[in-house]
Amino acid sequence: MQQSGVLASWAAEAGAFIAWAAAKVCASLPSAVTQAGWRLHAVLLEAGPDRTYTPSARLETSWLGARRRRPLTGQEKTSRAIAVLPRDAQYRRTLSLSRTAARRGRRALELRRDEFSPIPADQSAYAFRAAGSDGDRVGVQIALVRRSDLDRARDAAAASAADWRIAGECDERGDVDFILARSGTSLLRRPVIGWLAVYVALLILLISLAGRFEREVAQADTQRGGWLEQAREIRSLSDRLDRLDTLAEAGVDPVPLPVVMTGLSGLADSLPEDASLERIRLSGGEALIVQTGRLTDGRLERDQTHWPLGGEE
């Protein structure tokens, strides 16, 4: 398998681990669940006696990623192909690594390449898989192939599909193993990245919608607060008017000084010319009582008038 940088290596390791975890979980789920939604995953290409690669089967995958191998129907329309190298073109070897070394994966194998590869590195490629553990040792099975054989398979796979892989094994159940090469799909063009992009777009959409609705909620709450405030003001004013009515019923109702003085100013002009003012007093908050005196035939005659504060009586 070719490395395309540290990120790709890390992504491949993470993907493999997640695939392992998913397979482990799926194994404990009911088959009705794990085997639901079969669909075409790839066309398998296998080499005949003349080393020519031809479609030999269809590989199907379920929604949960289970695989199965099925005969070709002739209706296969897919851009994905998996070419399986003949078993006799592979040199298999099982190594025993310490757990510490095994955790380093391919990097640990690269350091021990001389132990399992009789072919120079520039003329070979290899893939590996776990092969059980025993105490502190982890078995690693390696499939080593000549690069010329790999190139032949690659040519055949690339001719039949844009997205291709070269595998060392595909058993009758459809489990593909020893991935020796794959099409140069960049990390960004891999399906998982597409799904991640969809997921991120969905999140952004949801976040923007949530933000919008939160603003609407805040707006509605503000409006409601305004209505409640108005309701409180109305109730308060209504209560005050009730209390003022009670106060008025108790006879406490002072008269504004300007009202009295305005009443007085109109009063002077309406008095008879021969009358003299003796006393003016406020009466009950609604009128002035005006006492006047007039000399008639040498006698003082007194008169009393109610002068309403709203105008002339």
Binding site: F17, G132, F213, E216, A231, R240, L247, V255, P256, L257
Partner: protein, 190 residues
Amino acid sequence: MTLLAETLPARGRSAIAWATILWLVLVFAVPVVLLAANISGALGHVGGAASENALMEERIGERAGALQARLAESGRTDRDLAVFDDPVEAAETFEASAVAVRDALEAAGLQIRADGGLVRTDLADGFLKLSYRLQFSGPVEPALSVLSDPAHASLSVEVFDLRATGEAGSGELNATVEFVRISVTEPADD
């Protein structure tokens, strides 16, 4: 199986696999579920709040209309509603206004015969009557001029008694004026 998985303790592999998948599901699903729940809740809230606000607007409109009609019918003004101002501040303002009248009368040449000072009288229903009684004598014109001064327009009276003194037409008076302001005993809640 990956080499990394092979290095895991055999007994815990299944648990680690489940934990990995559950963690992935949670990492990806939880934000979506939370956001969806948030949006769903907000939608419900907005819908409920809109109908509730419409109902409140209608009811408040009705109450406000009724209150306006009642205000117009009662003839109450802001001056009446000033009864509910802060009682401490109201007392201070009232006393200052009454003292200002007294000082103006003195300055106009009238004689202050009695200054009752600020008197507080408790009324029913949480009200308090503040009163300030002045008795003064002197010429009529300056007295009326002071009492008509717009500077004292904020005052109200409960007793207003002017008596002419001396010969008729001499223009002298004895007056008793009691300024009154009604106030609440406790500040209003709002």
